[in-house]
Amino acid sequence: MGVERIRPVRPRVPATLAYALHRLLARNGAYRRLAAYVERHPVLYRAFTAGERVTKERLFGCRMCGQCALPTTGYACPMTCPKQLRNGPCGGVSPDGSCEVDRTRTCVWVTAWTRAEGAARGADLDLLQRPVDNRQWTRSSWVNYWQGRDEGLSVAHDAEDPRPVMVDRT
């Protein structure tokens, strides 16, 4: 992890389809029980995680950070940003929208913005994203998400809470 060459990946499914898929996979009691069951059985967990990896790698260039940000980034994976930015584009995006590190690729955050804005979800990019827990690499983000572990991944700032706390001690 981390030493391979990371380059922005353009998702292979349209944003609208991804948002629709998410509704299918959205958290509920059944998924939570399924996730807990899968996690208790190592062989099953490995198979499940392998399935997630294959699917999400193909579709989004997913690198298995285990703490999926896709629903808040127009389904463009921020972990394919060479700088691993979780909170939006760096200042080096070139005028044509290409990545400062690899001019042959579109900045993943330009892609994210275009896709999210196109689905009227641009405000997702205003969320403050907390740092990733590096212990979660290679773990299944679906199992984590269904069990409610993604709750604190991001927080909104608004008039009511102009300066959200970073360290969530709940």
Partner: protein
């Protein structure tokens, strides 16, 4: 020592300048640069191996600048340090009397002199700003462990108003302000009209009241520098008008024309509502700063004496 905080509090037009530490262990190089700037600027940004090229650390540079009687703004990037090292350096800076920090993501190592280095980027620039505010205002580490003595620096960040996606740039700064940024220094401004447009967006977001905007400015010294800035430095946008202006004079007059354009830009920015100051980027030509400040007329004699 008066510095950036006092200048911002007083409400007058602020001038800061970039001070790059040397590529060796010579403290004298920092002292000489600081001496050239002292009295002309409110604070000097000490860069953190800028462009991913190895230099003396920004922490050491900041301490030397402070010793030379100038208020340092310590720049710190996420490029080379994980969250342990970042918090550790932030605390160390506070202990050594550094009163301002400027927190950013940093350039990718492949763009610098050690392209074979491992990129770290454990946190991003927004998260680093947020971390600093957590240390200072909440008095805890990211682990939640309490700090008996809290730092008290002013927290700054950077933004590039001209990089795509244009519609997101003001909102991205709003996010950094929510994370804790109290001042922002921008990438080079050559196009004042475009910059004014961005300021308008900031006003709509309510960012101006909570974050002091300091515009980045610098002279273009030669045709070579012009092509370097347009081609190799990420995120710099030189408008066609300025390009034509510099192309229209003979090579030996490009420097003077570039300086004139820079002074005009400073004056135009000073006249804009919502610009609290300028940040001068002179790349090793610290001796030019007094000239720019004087010609632009942005600093009063009284302030000059107070700055020393």
């Amino acid at each position: 020592m008066t510095g950036l905080r006092e200048a911002l509090d007083s409400g007058r037009f602020v001038v800061t300048a970039e001070l790059a530490p040397p590529r060796d262990a010579d403290p004298g190089a920092v002292e000489r640069k600081a001496a050239a700037l002292r009295g002309w600027v409110d604070a000097a940004n000490v860069t953190d191996s800028q462009g991913a090229n190895v230099r003396m650390s920004s922490l050491a540079g900041s301490v030397l600048v402070r010793r030379a009687g100038l208020d340092p703004v310590m720049q710190l990037t996420c490029r080379d340090r994980n969250r342990i090292a970042l918090q550790s350096d932030l605390l160390g800076a506070a202990a050594l009397g550094v009163r301002n920090v400027l927190l950013l993501t940093g350039d990718h190592p492949t763009l610098g002199d050690h392209p074979d280095a491992k990129p770290v980027f454990d946190l991003d620039g927004v998260q680093l700003v947020w971390t600093a505010r957590t240390l200072r205002d909440d008095g805890t580490l990211l682990s939640g462990k309490p700090l008996a003595t809290r730092p008290s620096w002013l927290i700054g960040t950077v933004e590039n108003p001209f990089a795509p996606p244009a519609a997101l740039r003001a909102r991205r700064l709003a996010k950094k302000v929510a994370a804790g940024a109290e001042f922002v220094q921008t990438q080079y401004v050559f196009d004042v009209d475009a910059f004014a447009g961005w300021l308008g967006l900031l006003r709509d977001e309510g960012v101006n009241e909570r974050c002091a905007v300091i515009a980045g400015v610098g002279p273009i010294r030669s045709r070579r520098m012009l092509s370097f800035l347009t081609g190799r430095v990420p995120g710099v946008h030189v408008p066609d008008g300025l390009r034509r202006r510099l192309a229209g004079v003979p090579e030996h007059r490009v420097e003077e024309e570039g300086m004139r354009a820079c002074v005009e830009t400073v004056q135009a920015l000073a006249a804009l509502d919502g610009v609290r100051g300028v940040h001068l980027m002179v790349f090793g030509h610290e001796d030019e700063v007094p000239d720019i400040v004087r010609r632009a007329g942005v600093r009063h004699a009284a302030a000059r004496e107070g700055g020393g």
